[in-house]
Amino acid sequence: MTDPNTLSPLDLDTPDKTFLDANELVINMGPQHPATHGVLRVILRLDGEKVMGLECVIGYLHRGVEKIAENRTYTMFNPYVDRMDYVAAVSNGLGYCEAVEKLLNVEAPARAQYIRVILTELNRIASHQLWLGTHALDIGAITPLFYTFRDREEILKIFEKYCGARLTTHAFRIGGLQYESYDGFEKDVRNFVNFVKPKIDEYEELLTTNRIWLERTKGVGVISGPDAIALGVTGPVLRASGVKWDIRKALPYANYKNFDFEIPTGQSGDTYDRYLVRMVEMRQSLRIVEQAVEGIPEGPIMAKVPKVIKPAVGEIYHSIEAPKGELGYFIVSDGSTQPYRIRVRPPSFVNLQALDVMCRGQLVADVIAVIGTLDIVLGEVDR
């Protein structure tokens, strides 16, 4: 299934002809299962231990974020976006603020942009660290979890010092920032960069050449580049399949074009490549943070945005590279203070769709590894 033209829907979702075969076993995993990272329910069709197909049942965490948006003003809706991908709340906020700014046709001042980039990239590292810890835990290595959480704590401390919140930060405002960076912000960030660099080596020491880790991840959950594109998979999962595409480079937003960084790609598109891609991404994020913290200019942190945000009639689609993939906001304005419709394009939701393709022909234990490697957050899948 390498040519996307042959990727017919029959291959994806219709039950196999052998569905009523006596050898098939249907097993239900979740919604309360320690390895589904939340309330994901997976119905597995098994032949022995081999997965013949699976279906995801989602929606257990559905809160109707898009409906809420239609009943709030633009400003009021800002904190809600943090609750979608609560692991990378800053990225969500960045996407939303930039989308509304674009709709208003304003641009955040340079200083605000730099601080935004620093926080967003720190958040990307935090998200990847959380992913690594839980993913390794699913595969049975318990120690990386504690290492990553120890280091993630340092990022959360910076967030807390900056805006008072650790997880759902609500760090940005439409038009810029609400808070000026605190005294010693640059120093904290520099210290963190120096602190975490050897720590990432430490994670790699534990896993990258670990025989069992290699056996558990190599060749598991393979998805080819064309398949990944056809399924709309984005983020590290797409890059691990060999497609060198990152919105930060392809359609630069914020001020990413000022920074020098690489886009890591993998070749085989298996779980191990996705692991490596994310490890490199963490280092690249550190590179961006280093450059950004050196170049923070002086100046205002808030653009001229009216107190009551009332964009003209029109619609806009804006997307950013969240830690999980392409996070897009499609905003329709009817000229009032409330958005007429906000559609969130959640990366986890779309990536999760690929689970079926990635798990076919693998073993049950691999399903757990693949769910881990997709790096889904159910808050974002269900919204």
């Binding site: 219709t14 109707g64 056809a230 595409w245 689609y317 499609f330 559609r343 394009r345 769709q353």
Partner: protein, 158 residues
């Protein structure tokens, strides 16, 4: 590209730009063919998103929007079509496999049916739920009380 498509399909396509973002409003009847053309000839190989907007006051109540991206051209485009209540659209799963869940979500939230979808059922809401919450006539506090009472055993979810 727009000009070429315009030349081919004539009045069925209306190319527009807002704040530097291109989109086109396409007649419903042209949708199946146009999506194929965009995918195969214009290299829009990545379907970013598929969603809908409800305008209850209009005759054709729904906007259905495809957000497409082309890796080769590094370009994003939106395709928009207007349909009325009860009208169906052809499923675009044969064009982009990713449309599967996206179409299910649109069905779930707006009640727009897609012909040829292999498994068109609710995705986020429970299967037996009544109503399509993202329609404008569905209040924010409204819910399927009957479902809640039967399945959760409580008076109300509020």
């Amino acid at each position: 590209m727009i000009a070429k498509l315009k030349g081919e399909y004539g009045s069925g396509i209306e190319p527009l730009t807002y704040l530097g973002q291109n989109y086109m409003v396409v007649d419903r009847s042209l949708i199946p063919e146009l999506l194929q053309v965009l995918r195969n000839e214009e290299q829009f190989d990545y379907c970013v998103d598929l969603t809908a907007v409800h305008y209850p006051k209009r005759e054709k109540q729904f906007d259905v929007v495809w957000v497409l991206y082309s890796f080769a051209r590094n370009e994003r485009i939106r395709v928009k079509t207007l349909i009325a209540e009860g009208e169906t659209l052809p499923s675009s799963i044969p064009v982009w496999a990713t449309a599967n869940w996206l179409e299910r979500e649109v069905f779930d939230m707006f009640g727009i049916k897609f012909d040829g979808h292999p498994d068109l059922k609710r995705i986020l809401l429970p299967d037996g739920w009544k109503g399509h919450p993202l329609r404008k006539d569905y209040g924010i506090l409204q819910q399927d009380n009957e479902w809640v009472q039967i399945n959760l055993g409580i008076e109300s979810g509020q």
